[in-house]
């Protein structure tokens, strides 16, 4: 287990270095920090002096090294727009996005598992066929369109739910603001979380259904029947545990997609999370914020992937967590 973690940590470090290099290169190309700091009316000589002092004329690698050092200490630059440390701005917005992701994951797990299992066990039932049809529809409607439709129906036409913003929040541990614990917050998160879930949920239903159908045809399931076990045990223990394995693997990949989709969803609902912040930063060419976002997202991504791998290793006994199956 330890060897596995060490290896993954090493891989994570390499990936983060690559991301930081790319992010730094972007920073180098985009925008002029000097212009943001001192404006247009300063003479060229003074600009050159300032450039020297700020180290902007140093060789590439020196600047990159400085960037890395700062980053490891938590300094990812200062946002041009917010005039605050970029990392602070991100950490401010992070809880909102996490709330959204938790809520969406809740919908996904709540529906995809039972529906997928049912559709696999009773493939000819009308409910299974309905679920499958709705799944194809769900996959075919881009996430931002679901968001727009939901807003139009529930906010504009029916007026039942709010169409933007986050609502009231409660502060936990004196720093973490969550909206999941207030009624107002819940009414605000309902439409965005359903939108975010709307593309991934059908994918999981189809995935669980097809994997489980394959498992149900396998020899060891037939043997389980031959042993005279109860149906429930065969379905929910013997079959489902095997179904979980490929689902976990694919699910891990979907997390990366979810991060991208939060950008779209937050934009439609003006949800004050990281994704919306990123888009605004792009529109404003707020380079430090863009770069900080990339690094934070890269980190989240690497951590989640590692966690998924560990979970997979724990569920699948044929993998011994040194990274190679025996």
């Amino acid at each position: 287990m330890f060897a596995f973690l060490l290896r993954r940590f090493g891989q994570a470090v390499i990936v983060m270095l690559v991301i930081s290099l790319l992010s730094f290169s972007i920073q180098d190309q985009l925008g002029d920090p000097l212009r943001e700091l001192v404006g247009q009316s300063v003479s060229e000589e003074i600009r050159e002096q300032l450039r020297d002092k700020m180290g902007l004329n140093d060789p590439y690698l020196v600047q990159y090294w400085r960037f890395l050092k700062n980053a490891l200490q938590g300094d990812l630059g200062t946002s041009y727009f917010f005039k605050r440390p970029a990392l602070d701005v991100i950490l401010d917005k992070l809880p909102a996005t996490i709330d959204l992701v938790i809520a969406a994951t809740f919908w996904i797990l709540l529906f995809s598992i039972p529906v997928g299992i049912f559709a696999a066990i009773h493939p000819d039932h009308w409910f299974s066929k309905l679920a499958l049809s709705l799944s194809i529809l769900g996959i075919s409607i881009p996430v931002f369109l679901t968001a727009i439709f939901l807003i139009y129906l529930f906010a504009v036409e029916l007026g039942w739910l709010p169409s933007y913003g986050r609502g009231d929040t409660i502060t936990l541990f004196s720093t973490w603001k969550t909206s999941l614990l207030t009624l107002d917050g819940l009414s605000h998160i309902l439409l965005p979380s359903i939108s975010l879930a709307s593309v991934i949920l059908p994918l999981f239903v189809r995935l669980i259904r097809s994997e489980m159908m394959e498992v149900l045809e396998s020899e060891y399931i037939r043997f389980a029947w031959a042993k005279g076990l109860r149906r429930r045990r065969i379905w929910f223990l013997h079959s489902f545990k095997n179904t979980l394995l490929p689902v976990i693997t694919v699910g891990g990949v979907q997390i990366g997609i979810m991060v991208a989709y939060t950008i779209l969803t937050e934009t439609v609902f003006q949800w004050p999370g990281m994704g919306f912040m990123f888009l605004e930063a792009i529109n404003r060419v707020d380079t430090p914020l863009i770069v900080a976002y990339l690094i934070v997202v890269g980190l989240i991504f690497v951590v989640t992937n590692t966690v998924v791998d560990i979970i997979y290793g724990l569920v699948n006994p044929t993998v011994t967590l040194v990274g190679r199956p025996t």
Partner: protein, 305 residues
């Protein structure tokens, strides 16, 4: 491969198609969309790309049938006075074009790399597949957002508008080649094990010829299946990018751009500006997905999930 209409009519694929209403209806709708978008320059009542041809005074007319509609504009107008029907026709064309070109690019790259990687194996294979893995772990949408955002910021809005289509196709194409490469490589590895490859090698055929004449034809089925998925995905990705303002500009809008443009107006009542392009986009993606599902079932019910 000799081909005749009679053989096609008797093949199991054709049989399955004729008997599957969903597949037939999807194909019909999709063909119609393709046709009208290709013919858009000829059949659209107005030219939405001509910045001088529309008048802001004509803005926000609803479609025919609602009160306040104008006879000149069948589906109404958008906020700038452009005819909805025309913008949708042209927009569909752009969305489809980007979908197809991006897929062709990724197919070309992916198939070439996959063939070479699978056939020659060893270090080249490991190296290429390592790169593929890394690329696969970054979602295309994320990568596209970053690259296009940087591009847009770096070259300014004017240059951006000129190169937007090319950039989108390039980004989606290059980001997705691993999908094709993986599929082709798996096929190549499976075929390599079969005896006919040894037989042909013994005769002395050169590797390239073996690859193209013998192995490649056996990869057509799985490639066809993932192609439909990839075209649909490319269209969805482009729509998302355009919706964020990082895709096609409003002067040469794709369906995604049109939706973006009309979003704010749903609150003030002009629902058609967003919903009509949205409807077309959904129908487009849905028919491609339905055909893809049917194709997957008919070509091999078990292997492709």
């Amino acid at each position: 491969m000799n081909f005749s209409l009679e053989r096609m009519r008797r093949s199991p694929v054709y049989y399955s198609f004729i008997n599957n209403k969903v597949a037939m209806v999807s194909a019909a709708i999709l063909s119609t969309l393709l046709l009208v978008s290709i013919l858009a320059p000829f059949i659209a009542p107005y030219d939405p790309w001509d910045q001088t041809a529309f008048d802001i005074m004509d803005s926000e007319y609803p479609p025919i049938g609602s009160s306040g509609a104008d006879d000149r504009f069948l589906l109404g107008t958008d906020d700038m006075g452009r005819d909805m029907l025309s913008t949708i026709l042209y927009g569909t064309g752009i969305s489809i074009a980007i979908g197809i070109f991006a897929t062709i690019l990724q197919a070309f790259m992916g198939i070439s790399i996959g063939l070479v990687s699978g056939y020659f194996g060893s270090r080249l294979d490991s190296f290429l597949m390592r790169i593929a893995d890394i690329q696969l772990s970054f979602t295309t949408l994320m990568v596209a957002i970053i690259i296009l955002a940087v591009f847009q910021a770096a070259v300014g809005l004017n240059s951006y508008e000129r190169y937007a289509l090319l950039m989108i196709v390039l980004v989606i194409g290059i980001a997705e080649w691993p999908q094709y490469a993986r599929t082709v490589r798996a096929c190549v590895l499976a075929e390599k094990k079969k005896e006919y490859v040894d037989a042909v090698r013994v005769i002395g055929l050169r590797p390239m010829r073996i690859l193209y004449r013998h192995i490649l034809p056996n990869t057509f089925s799985p490639l066809l299946v993932i192609s439909t998925v990839q075209v649909a995905n490319a269209i969805i990705t482009e729509a998302g990018l355009s919706f964020l303002g990082l895709g096609m500009p409003i002067t040469k809008p794709s369906l995604g751009s049109l939706i973006r443009n009309g979003f704010d107006y749903i609150f003030s009542g002009s629902w058609w500006i967003t919903f009509l392009p949205a409807l077309v986009l959904i129908v487009l993606i849905l028919t491609i997905n339905l055909l893809g599902d049917w194709l997957r079932d008919v070509l091999n019910p078990k292997i492709y999930k």
